[in-house]
Amino acid sequence: MPDPVKPPAFPDERAPWPGPFVRYDLVKELVVALGVVLAVVVALTVLFSSPDEPPVTIQSWSKAAPADFLGVAVSELNRTSGVATYGPPYNEGTGSVQKIGPISLQEAAGVKVPIETAKDYVLEPLHEVPGAPRLRAALAAYEQAPAALQEKWAANYEKALPEARFVAGVPVLPPGRYGPVAPMMASLLAMGQSGALDGALLAGGHHFYATDYTKPLLFVSAGEYFEKLAEHQHLLGTQWGMMNETGSYPGQVWLWLFSFWYQVEPFKSSSNADALIFMVMGVLSLAFICIPFIPGLNRLPRRLGVYRLIWRDHYREVES
């Protein structure tokens, strides 16, 4: 019969504890913990507040970096942008399609959030500008022109853009064959700077409420301006940005392992890095959940012996 006064040295892990008990007030523990956590939270709030870096709008971007804005806009019109060539779920492109071995889950999922960049980012918003007979004529000329000519105009414009000057906010390019693309882009820039394009991309002219920011976000994020801001805040993937927060706040530290894989080969230079790292993390997460069933790993704590420190009072008693 076990001695209830002395704890057993070799407890049966499955049986109820036959040894002595001590008083333990769980409810009091929870209430005290709640009080302590609340006090620490309020203290940290008073000391440090929280970050709230304002979002980039199309308006703020087109005002701060008009040439960058025009570069993205003309590439959307010409369907050469990152979004235009992305692939699923936005379109049939292949530019950002990733594979795990021979399998592409991305392609299998198909085009579910269709984006037609020329129409969505340039032509439809410009059609919403009221009045503006010159813009209307330019749009008509562009839309009636053969595809090859449309492409040529846009390509010429894109090439000349680095030499653009801005006179009172209006882009002035060196003389060249831009066709109607030049007045269209000037109008789009004016629309962007007025804030009208933010609304147009969000609502598409058909809605009142909006909750889906896919189109404006993909547009804004194509600019160098956006990336420069992120780089300044150390948010790029190559800067372990997944873990970081704007300002000097701690970020999502728990994503350290996810972030780690992006820094090492073979993932670092792989065009399938995202898909591969998602897979690796999936496998590791499953392993983490299954630690009790993984031979070796489930006995590691006994080998490490940290438990001797946790239960030192118990061992001191039973081993004396």
Partner: protein
């Protein structure tokens, strides 16, 4: 005067309601559900971190409810809103902080031993779901941070084919995940996790290091030393 224990009549015993109640009481009698004593080996500060995690989660939920009731714009526009947002952020930091310390403690105790593997499994899943809950919060902030996180995360989600189902640039979707779906899952997991702990009790220490095991203990000692490391 003590009333005799209620024994259901035969007709009652066939009722589903009676059977569920009888089973619940049998599996989880009140003194097991809310015990006022613990085995003598429960004597370390490491044991408080599970409860601290729950306390931090309560502050996360409470501050989150205020933010949700005032609407997602409020915290950008008012000082009080920003204050509550800061509380929400710091409570999340403490929640993960305490959860990781709890996790380390339970790992080093081998706390899955003796039929307690489900406790580990539910805890580990809670950790992973909580990361998702926090992530959807980060993309629901409506500031530069959420723009950038959504821009970066979309490629990973698209690459594995779930980028349209779980569209990080769709605020409506992300907000729903963040304020109702994932918190509900975390709450259910925590409840299940705690009930499992209460049912099986806190894991006992590994076998002691004694030159010779007392004869009465050899059977269990063998079990503790070799097998029974898993479920």
């Amino acid at each position: 005067m003590s009333a005799p224990a209620h024994r259901p009549a035969k007709a009652e015993r066939t009722m589903w309601t009676t059977r569920v109640r009888e089973r619940a009481v049998r599996e989880m009698p009140p003194e097991k559900l809310l015990p006022d004593r613990q085995p003598s080996y429960v004597s370390s500060w490491i044991y408080v971190f599970g409860v601290v995690t729950i306390a931090a989660f309560a502050v996360v939920v409470a501050s989150g409810v205020i933010l949700g009731l005032k609407g997602p714009e409020w915290w950008h526009l008012t000082g009080l809103g920003h204050f509550v947002n800061s509380m929400h952020l710091w409570a999340v930091e403490i929640f993960f902080f305490a959860m990781v310390v709890h996790l380390w403690g339970k790992f080093f105790m081998g706390a899955w031993r003796g039929g307690r593997s489900r406790t580990w499994v539910t805890g580990a899943i809670t950790f992973l779901v909580a990361i998702g809950a926090a992530f959807t919060g980060y993309v629901s902030q409506q500031n530069f941070d959420s723009q950038w996180i959504a821009f970066e995360a979309k490629d990973g989600l698209n690459a594995v084919g779930i980028g349209s189902f779980f569209n990080v640039a769709n605020f409506g979707q992300m907000y729903t995940w963040h304020v109702i779906l994932l918190p509900t899952v975390v709450v259910l997991l925590i409840v299940g996790h705690v009930l499992l702990v209460r049912r099986t009790g806190v894991v006992p220490p590994y076998a002691a290091r004694l030159a010779k095991a007392p004869p009465a203990a050899t059977a269990t000692a063998a079990g503790a030393a070799t097998g029974a490391e898993d479920a």
